[in-house]
């Protein structure tokens, strides 16, 4: 981004809609998380494992964004939760108005957690607030430890980094400590979880993080909304 004078206007309008969404989420008690990463880091795989392990009694819904194809929604629908695909048709990120349109027909009062899978892109989605409570950035160990330094805005704006594909660590020249150090450098105090969606490592911790985040959201909401 940062390339057009008009960009400021577009972002301002986006922020307005994002605020509306955030207020609606607060009113209905919906924790919204915005999952971001490079293409192929494993956002959809993480969502598959998440829906598979989803705790009974908690209601989840998913919006999944892509430039083209309904593939991700098809992969995610088999778990029986509401899933909607947003096809951007060329746009490199989701924006708040796309979320607003996608939510038409859904009752937010029937949702506890809304998981939004952004378009695979480590740059532009960082500029577009979707009204989420937090961004979660997925980085896979095959991408190299330097990505937090190269895409600092995304890592700074994300509350949690899920370091995925750790089953591949024996086969790639990736130093976990270095990646953690780089993430903490652009975002001091950033939370980090090590996960393998394929082998199953770290998924208990991830589901635990989600449960704790939900609790924190509810507690905060109680305080804010009265």
């Amino acid at each position: 981004m940062n390339r057009l004078p008009l960009e400021g206007k577009v972002l301002k309008e986006n922020d307005r809609i994002a605020l509306e969404l955030r207020e609606q989420y607060a009113a209905h008690g919906v924790l919204c998380l915005n999952l971001v990463s490079s293409p192929g880091s494993g956002k959809t795989s993480l969502l598959e494992r998440t829906l598979e392990l989803w705790p009974e009694g908690e209601r989840v819904a998913v919006l999944t964004g892509d430039i083209q194809t309904e593939n991700d929604a098809q992969r995610l629908r088999r778990f029986g939760f509401p899933v909607k695909q947003i096809t951007t048709g060329g746009t490199c990120h989701l924006d708040a108005s796309m979320i607003q349109r996608a939510l038409e027909g859904w009752q937010l009062k029937d949702v506890d957690v809304l998981l939004v899978e952004n378009v695979g892109n480590l740059v532009c989605p960082s500029s577009y607030d979707l009204g989420e409570a937090a961004k979660v950035v997925v980085l896979s160990v095959t991408e190299g430890e330097d990505k937090p330094l190269k895409y600092p805005s995304m890592f700074f704006k994300s509350e949690l980094m899920v370091l995925n594909k750790i089953d591949l660590l024996p086969y790639v020249p990736f130093v976990v400590d270095k990646a953690v150090e780089n993430a903490q450098r652009v975002h001091p105090g950033m939370e980090i979880l090590k996960v393998s969606c394929l082998a199953g490592d770290g998924l208990t911790e991830w589901m635990g993080w989600l449960a704790a985040r939900r609790e924190r959201f509810r507690a905060g909401r109680g305080a804010a909304v009265v």
Copy 2:
């Protein structure tokens, strides 16, 4: 992309500069290739192997783009060829004016091949012509076979797909034939090379492709420039 009326104007101006660059490359016999991919697919690693294996007597120069950091230029300088880093400071792609500025101080008559490494992003760089003779898209096997379908513009506009990290095939659920099929679906007749920059597979074929592309460029130039 595709989201602002002003975008058309920006792209038109970009096309004007790209044309200037293309004419300069033609005048001086410089084959320019624009390497694109997701973050972490291995563009820099491919360039490292390329410079290592660079044939004597051919002159190569590299421009490497990133949002932040000079890391890639540092990795590439040790081979002794001219390398310049372009730091976009937030912009999610290289544009033709950045290339034009970066080339100031270099003599194009002293260059046979100019390799441009774009910002890691499978979306926006596809809209910005840099005056290159061809785009080369790098896809790593850890990213999934569906990427050509999800980012069709990039795969359609790239002459060659380098399928990288094939040393990891035993450890990831990636079906090469499916990826090839998807690439050919969005870009019938697309050339595809299987490579491992880590293990060295396919690098002879890659260097062979480069040599053939150079020959084709020279032959075409002879015809066009007279």
